[in-house]
Symmetry: D2
Subunit: 116 residues, 4 copies
């Protein structure tokens, strides 16, 4: 589905509740931070194998899906607060990252590359 | 633009660099957490008026846009790691939130409503 | 009370439960992150006046105290994982900060100073 | 060293710069969140073996020590903002945790115990 169409639904949800008044950038970002913490909690204390196993556990999948939903919804609300087109936000950042991590240097060595 | 089309571009970027091997859910979520922290840093120590002023400051707008880009990109990578359709993730969470925050109860009182 | 004495109590608590095996630095830091999120949740959506009011609300004070307790406990566990003396950790960082923020430059202008 | 003595040094640092005016609980907690993110960044993309190796790498140890210093300093500033005695904050939370995680139930099974 069109990301602008999805954002429109998110904003309709917000406006039906008169919540634009609370959606200042600082509190929206705090909300993003809290939703990411809820996602992180799912993987806390889990080793690599247990983390991988969440992908095939129906209950964990449902939790991950819900938290990702909240993160995407708050990110689209934040785009709206600044009047950004979400497609443009993603496309432009991919272009910046293309320059920051050129394929020939970054291939297969994310960690070492980012450290230098 | 179609969110699935945007996700495809994100995954092409990842695969051109052989980065799927690093994209386990725990580290992807840590990455989301770090990007949200970079966004939050923009609003640290700012009062309500200064937060509002970021919306019309070209330099702050550019920073917010870039951090939002990273957050959306990691969220789409995370959807991919679990095989979720991003549109579905958003639509389903909006439905859950509709029940959690019915318009008649939530209208204009986000804070009090969430506290009870 | 002596911070090393407090750390000793924290480690006794950990060892009585055989929890050292879980206390790798990555998961301890994730735990710190989640506890800070719980603290941050108390101030989410609150304006300056409401934030100030938490200081005199018995229930909010109790929540803040508990979350701060968890943060300090995890920080002391993390010091232990690296064999750091907690007093030294604080004293040394204060010295670094003294150089980074000299009184004559930083006085009364935290924000502007940090931005330049 | 006495934790109250350490807190006194932290507050002297703050007051020499007239920074109490910025130290509202919401921004102090945001600062804690950003410092924890800097600590978390050290362990991002690292597997269990690489995380363990940070303990004996002089450069990583120095970074961890500095970030832990900032976290402890902000936590002590936050205690001050609410007039809490730091020793009491830790001791009281350990007592709460004693009840929440009784030795006979929690021993050697942190994960399963916390999930139920």
């Amino acid at each position: 589905m069109d990301i602008e169409e999805l954002q429109k639904k998110v904003i309709e949800f917000r406006d039906a509740r008169d919540w634009a008044q609370y959606h200042n950038p600082k509190d929206l970002t705090i909300s993003l931070s809290l939703e990411v913490a809820e996602l992180l909690e799912i993987f806390q204390w889990k080793d690599a194998q247990e983390v991988e196993a969440t992908k095939s556990d129906p209950d964990e999948r449902r939790r991950v899906k819900e938290e990702l939903g909240d993160i995407l919804i708050y990110a689209l609300n934040m785009c709206r607060a600044f009047g950004f087109d979400p497609s443009e936000v993603i496309i432009e950042k991919l272009k910046i990252n293309e320059k920051k991590y050129p394929v020939e240097k970054a291939k297969g060595s994310a960690r070492k590359y980012t450290e230098t």
